[in-house]
């Protein structure tokens, strides 16, 4: 039974100058579960897209059943019995489970949804799925939808299953159920690749672990020979010195006190779970965590864009000395309270800026309400635009160019420039250097440090641990919507943070199981 299902040899995939995968080797046997471990942007999803025919590798070979093959489309992948379960489900909400399962299939013979339901029921009982084939997708929970996706690939006869972060959206109980099913599929001889960040899941479930770091293949170990320390070190690597400046905080005062906030998704998954922390003036608080662990919800809750189910967000106004609870206030109400809050959201062109508008018009987003006139005042924004273009060296033909036409780094300069121009007392920046080149990144770090020196309380959500460790005074780690630890940026180690990122509260799960 232990023959090789799929083997990758020296897979390299480039996007322009960026190398997403470099010389990756991977072997999965039938009846085996392999975990693919790596930080954000380490190239896991790219690699899986190579296997499922969405991308074509620039170098390297894919070997299936002992023969080199070329997978040019998702359809080819089907033919090689590869099935991928994406993080974002591809289902038609209005259809039943059975209808979704056979969608696009060209089976011979009469179209008969009843026999499909029967076959679905067979697969379900074989692996222990609990699903009603006639239930509509829009009535389903996230975990049921995921089940439909898995049955969909099994129905198509997949022998190699790839699951992209399947537990990210599941509750601990649902996760356990999923793992039972995956084990049963392994015992049935299927080869399973699961992408995940959660170390205990890796140790709990898989037979082998392959680790990627910054697109490079680090190695594969047998789970039985690994522990959390070994895996963390493989995943985060050695600390790299970046020489980012870090001034000492001067006279830090509590600026924002967040206490016990909770936030529930529509599906009932906890996006923020009893989060408490304090942000102080004159310091940079880093937030580390796997993407999608609640960072966005947290920042949006502070900015008045996310409804909360509990807790409080107290802002201490340094000017008036008063304190305000920002919870459940709209962004406008927060501004009217005199809270000088600036927010650089993750989605720069979808939220922070309007892509089709000029640099000047984007400056107006924050300031257009000023004054009693019914007309907008363009003079101030124009000056501000020119000032930002000059001071931050934004490469743009002129201030009337739509920001959509600027490069990523320049877009970020425009956004950050606007946000700090209103002399905030609290500045939140989500992934401000994502997609930026080295020079632009250092410019952004300098800007954040300038704000810090001015006594601004800065929240910096980052993904590169080296940067977080060099830039931030304190680092708060968030995992599955919970704060897993707050460490001192000056003496924490990379492994320590990496471990906190991949840790989820196993105690809680155990108590659930009982």
């Amino acid at each position: 039974m232990n023959n090789v299902a799929i083997e990758l040899r020296g897979i390299t995939k480039r996007f322009g100058s960026v190398v997403a995968n470099k010389g990756v080797n991977l072997t999965v046997c039938n009846g085996e579960i392999l975990s693919l471990l790596g930080e954000n942007g380490s190239g896991k999803t790219t690699l899986m897209n190579v296997i499922s025919g969405i991308y074509h590798p620039d170098e390297g070979q894919i070997i299936i059943g002992g023969e080199p093959v070329s997978i040019n489309s998702p359809h080819d992948a089907f033919n090689y019995k590869i099935g991928m379960i994406h993080q974002h489900f591809k289902l038609v909400d209005l259809f039943t489970a059975a209808e979704n399962i056979i969608l696009g299939l060209n089976e011979k013979g009469k179209f008969d949804i009843k026999s499909v339901s029967k076959k679905v029921a067979e697969i379900s009982s074989k692996y222990g799925f609990d699903i009603d084939p006639n239930k509509k997708i829009y009535e389903m929970s996230v975990s049921e939808k995921q089940t439909v996706e898995i049955i969909k690939v099994l129905y198509r006869g997949a022998d190699i299953l790839i699951l992209d972060e399947p537990t990210a959206v599941l509750t601990p109980q649902e996760t356990r159920k999923l793992f039972d099913i995956l084990r049963r599929m392994r015992d049935d001889g299927k080869a399973i690749i699961i992408i995940t960040h959660k170390l205990h899941e890796v140790l709990d479930l898989s037979d082998k672990v392959a680790v990627l770091r910054h697109g490079e293949y680090v190695g594969t170990v047998n789970t039985s020979e690994a522990d959390e320390n070994i895996l963390t070190e493989m995943m985060v690597g050695k600390k790299v010195e970046l020489n980012i400046e870090r001034p000492e905080p001067v006279d830090p005062q509590d600026r924002l006190v967040v206490e016990h906030i909770d936030c529930m998704s529509r599906e009932g998954v906890k996006l923020l779970d009893d989060v408490s922390f304090t942000v102080r003036s004159g310091e940079i608080l880093g937030i580390a965590g796997i993407a999608g662990s609640g960072q966005r919800e947290l920042l949006e809750a502070i900015a008045g864009l996310q409804k909360l189910d509990g807790g409080s967000i107290i802002y201490h106004n340094p000017k008036t000395g008063t304190s305000e609870n920002l919870r459940d206030k709209t962004p406008l109400e927060i501004r009217e309270l005199g809270v000088r809050l600036s927010f650089v959201p993750e989605d720069r062109l979808g939220m922070g800026l309007v892509g089709n508008m000029s640099v000047v018009d984007n400056m107006m987003l924050r300031s257009y309400r000023r004054g009693k006139s019914v007309f907008v005042e363009r003079h101030g924004p124009e000056e501000l635009a020119h000032k930002i273009i000059k001071d931050l060296e934004v490469a743009t033909p002129d201030a009337e160019t739509p920001v959509r036409r600027l490069s990523g780094g320049n877009v970020q300069k425009v956004l950050l420039g606007r946000e700090i121009s209103s002399s905030p007392t609290l500045l939140m920046a989500a992934y401000p250097v994502r997609g930026l080149d080295i020079n632009s990144s250092y410019l952004i770090y300098d800007l954040l440090n300038d704000q810090k020196r001015k006594g601004v309380a800065v929240i910096f959500v980052g993904e590169d641990l080296d940067v977080l460790l060099d830039l931030c005074d304190r680092i708060m780690v968030i995992g599955s919507g919970r704060i897993t630890g707050i460490v001192d940026g000056r003496n924490a180690t990379k492994n320590e943070v990496g471990y906190l990122m991949t840790k989820t509260d196993r105690e809680e799960e155990k108590s659930d199981a009982e």
């Binding site: 962004p331 309007v354 907008v376």
Partner: protein, 370 residues
């Protein structure tokens, strides 16, 4: 199945979204497409009439510019079309697909005619005109506001809703005409024809000059509103990205309802101009499809009021010119609609050549980074 080594067939033509084109190049592409459209229209006309092309073009010009009266008619028709196009624009800019301009204008007309009918003798003409204006504005705003309100609270499909409202308005007009004209002839005739109470005054001996002046003012007003006012800015932000609007604290629902009311009110104003300044009467098809044509004019002008001036003149020129050809040759006057339809299709499709580039014979497999 495992030994599937079939090479992938590459498509001959494939399409990618292109980056921003320089303005000049984009305008060139548009100009070429419009030119091709005009040539195509000419070809169609020649095929339909088997006439000498030069003669056809000449007829088109005499149809629009042949006499001072024809020029006035052209500008009057263009003014009405332009005015309605301006009216639908604020809502469109916000991505609210109002297909109900026809009905909103008609209900505005109805409001004015009702005022003229019932209080025509009680008020001096100038006051009646003003009262009618307010009645029309309210009527138009209500007619658009109903779908707008349901869009905001229940996300009711506004395209279909506003479309249906057109026919409710048309039937309402028929109903009232039935009520007003007991003979059942369905023809209302000129209201207050003897006193001309509530009619727009003639200026410098020109019946339509006031219409044109009002629409000119309206053009300036809409231009300023959209480009310079805070509300216009909010409309642009909501239309581009609701997320950004929320991020900067705009109450999206409020902006939607407010903008739709403004659009409807402007349609009401156009109904007032049509009723008090042009027709002095009403029937269920008094707007004559201008409400629909206006949607296309607004769209193909990219919601720019200045461009709309030219677009509406172009459309009216085509219609008048084609009408002239038809009457010269004893053909049906619908040639105008045919040519308008073709021209709009060409202009609308020109966007594609600006926004996408077409590649023949794919050489290299391109992949996008996520």
């Amino acid at each position: 199945m495992r030994n599937n080594h079939k090479t992938h067939k590459e498509p001959l033509v494939y399409i990618t979204k292109r980056g921003e084109l320089p303005k000049l190049k984009a305008m060139m592409i548009k100009a070429i497409v419009i030119l091709v459209g005009i040539l195509f229209c000419a070809l169609v006309t020649i095929l339909l009439t088997s006439e000498n092309p030069l003669k056809v073009f000449k007829a088109m010009f005499t149809g629009s510019f042949g006499s001072p009266r024809k020029v006035w008619n052209l500008f009057q028709a263009s003014a009405i079309l332009l005015g309605i196009s301006l009216a639908v624009t604020p809502a469109f800019k916000m991505r609210f697909w109002n297909t109900g301009a026809e009905g909103q204008v008609l209900i505005g007309m109805l409001a004015t005619i009702t005022c003229m009918f019932y209080i025509g003798d009680a008020l001096p003409s100038w006051l009646l005109i003003i009262v009618s204006l307010f009645a029309s504005i309210i009527a138009g705003a209500v007619w658009a506001g109903i779908p707008g309100y349901f869009k905001a609270i229940w996300n009711t499909n506004e395209t279909l809703f506003t479309l249906m409202m057109n026919y409710v308005a048309a039937q309402l007009v028929s109903l009232l005409i039935m009520y007003w004209v007991p003979s059942g002839s369905m023809v209302l005739g000129l209201v207050n024809s003897s006193t001309q109470n509530g009619w727009f005054p003639t200026i410098f001996g020109q019946k339509y000059l006031l219409n044109i002046i009002i629409v000119a003012l309206l053009t300036a007003a809409v231009y300023v509103y959209l480009k310079k006012s805070k509300q216009g800015y909010e409309i642009a932000v909501v239309g581009e990205s609701e997320n950004t609007a929320r991020y900067i604290g705009i109450n999206v629902k409020k902006v939607i309802i407010r903008t739709v009311l403004i659009s409807g009110a402007l349609c009401g104003v156009m109904g007032w101009i049509l009723a008090a300044g042009t027709d002095h009467s009403i029937n269920s098809s008094a707007v004559g499809g201008n409400g629909f044509t206006a949607i296309m004019v607004s769209w193909m002008s990219k919601f720019n009021p200045i461009t709309m001036i030219f677009s509406s003149i172009l459309v009216c020129f085509l219609q008048k010119g084609a009408g002239e050809i038809a009457s010269n040759l004893g053909l049906n006057s619908s040639v105008g609609e045919v040519l308008t339809g073709i021209m709009i299709l060409f202009i609308v499709s020109s966007d594609f050549f600006v926004n996408y580039s077409i590649h023949f014979r794919k050489k290299e497999r391109k992949e996008k980074q996520e």
